[in-house]
Symmetry: C2
Subunit: 326 residues, 2 copies
């Protein structure tokens, strides 16, 4: 199998504008009169994308539309950008496929469940950032997951996203042929998130591998799906092997998120809270309140880092100004 569909890490002069641009790798796009981002209900001829999104520096994505609305409310407060009278309108209100919210430099987008669902969203998000001429964008997936050998509520920042055989790769079928893409994530960003957790001191955070599966039940060795042809021992053996390979949590989107962000030169991190320890059970029996409080942890962690990064860039801007005026 080829290492990828012809995209090297080297700069493609015809497609990339600068080091910090969001890259698309599609020579056909520039020849299109309009580009309809169908699942967002947005388009280049119907919306002024540079005016709407040109200032975006941070994108947070997560499965649930409700959670992504709650994140924009939270980050507005953290960045002191909130207006008590303001509603945060869903920018994709004309469709129910995804929900999108924006405040200042932060965009929050839902992606549904599973690799295909997040992949559609990312294709259109990457094109949106490209059309809007965004630069220096950092992207976070904030999600939920099953944990391995961790107390429920622990946050896992992904080192590598691995498949169900514990390999750090994504297999995609293009024109009927399987191509393999790298699922590397930004290690520096992961370390910064770990440091944020230490600064905050509110909950446990670890860096570990994340297993990305195509199914929640049989695909994650659960015993409580409609179908199950294996024993409790088979399940435990599989999860033990996963743990031994470095896997600390299991979810359903990280591999294609990592692969597509890498191809687009988006600095990316995956930050998921563990809702249960899969070696101790399959069902989510914790109370609604407990699960809800766990789900806020990736928001708090990412919110803290965004605030820190914005403060740093503001200090740099002040410093630059001083240097110029000297």
């Amino acid at each position: 199998m080829a290492p990828g569909p012809g995209f090297s890490d080297e700069k493609n002069e015809t497609l990339c504008e600068s080091e910090s641009t969001v890259y698309v790798h599609n020579p056909h796009l520039d020849g299109m009169k309009d580009d309809i981002l169908y699942h967002f209900n947005l388009g280049t001829s119907t919306h002024n994308l540079p005016a709407m999104f040109g200032d975006v520096k941070f994108v947070c994505v997560g499965g649930s539309p409700w959670r992504m609305k709650s994140f924009i409310e939270y980050i507005a407060g953290e960045l002191s950008l909130e207006d008590p009278k303001a509603e945060y309108p869903n920018i994709c209100a004309g469709t129910d496929r995804y929900a999108m919210y924006k405040i200042g430099p932060v965009l929050s987008v839902s992606h549904g469940m599973g690799i295909p669902s997040i992949a559609i969203m990312l294709h259109e998000l990457i094109k949106l950032l490209y059309h809007a001429r965004c630069t220096d964008v950092t992207i976070f997936r904030i999600g939920t997951s099953g944990g391995l050998g961790l107390e429920p509520g622990t946050v896992v920042v992904t080192k590598q996203s691995v498949d169900a055989t514990f390999l750090p790769r994504l297999e995609q079928v293009i024109l009927g042929n399987t191509v393999v893409r790298s699922t590397d994530l930004d290690q520096g960003l992961a370390e910064e998130l770990l440091q944020c957790s230490k600064d905050l001191g509110q909950f446990e955070t670890v860096i570990g591998n994340t297993m990305c599966t195509m199914d929640f039940y049989e695909g994650q060795a659960r015993l409580d799906g409609a179908f199950c042809s294996y024993t409790e021992k088979d399940k435990q053996d599989y999860l033990t092997k996963a743990y031994e390979s470095g896997v600390r949590n299991i979810e359903m989107e990280s591999s294609v998120f990592a692969a597509m962000c890498k191809l687009s030169a988006l600095k990316a991190a995956v930050v998921c809270v563990t809702l249960l320890d899969r070696q101790k059970g399959d069902q989510l029996i914790s109370s609604h309140e407990v699960l809800h409080s766990y789900q806020q942890r990736p928001q708090i962690l990412v919110g803290h880092l965004i605030k820190k990064m914005l403060q740093t860039s503001a200090s740099v801007a002040v410093l630059d100004k001083k240097t110029v005026s000297v």
Copy 2:
């Protein structure tokens, strides 16, 4: 690769109750005190599932929550079960993962986009129907798709769901091993739907193979994604091969829908309208109104068949009553 994870077509005496029951294939389920259907926000200890769902005979599933609400309103009218004052409440109101509506014997459930998203829903739906002791259930997926060699607006009833190499199979990874499942659908039900279209005379309907892909852009040979490493000719060659193998439309959920319904002995059909001819383009440039009217066609077709089947069963009941009273 094995032909499946140990589920034969033969009756499993320990798990199946009768010919018409909805089957689960999981010996662990009966040992569980409660079963939390997490993504529906329903459970066996919190809800009386037989009372809520025991009368369900038809389930319609589709990607969009809005469309599934509109279907329940439509079918309520068709079956003269509507109450002009009634709102149809979302049974899964406590979660934003899926939406679910019910009127009389008809259940309408959204499933999001892609195989993983519909698979989670189907695991929990099959368990719901099993816990509710439903019998003789027929299930339809009503969706949208890209067409091949068909006028936009044509409805395709799926003969076989095939993968991106045109083979009628679903590969699933269970405990790290790939298993292959059959994607056969009920041919009699497909023929009945075709007959309904003839009865209605409102739009074109064909029976053909449906290609089920993991991605909307590169996975369906589109030229308008964020990434594209092939030419227009490569795309056309691939779509021509698909057409020659019998594929008439392309979507993202039919294979796992077919496989899981077959395992559960649910009589199943996939009914998707084509929104465009993929050999002529990639973008959805038709007006909102035109696309909306196309999306109603699978609803109209399935609604007509449900009405017909209920009328037939009512006639049989009257006939039975007469026979008894003779």
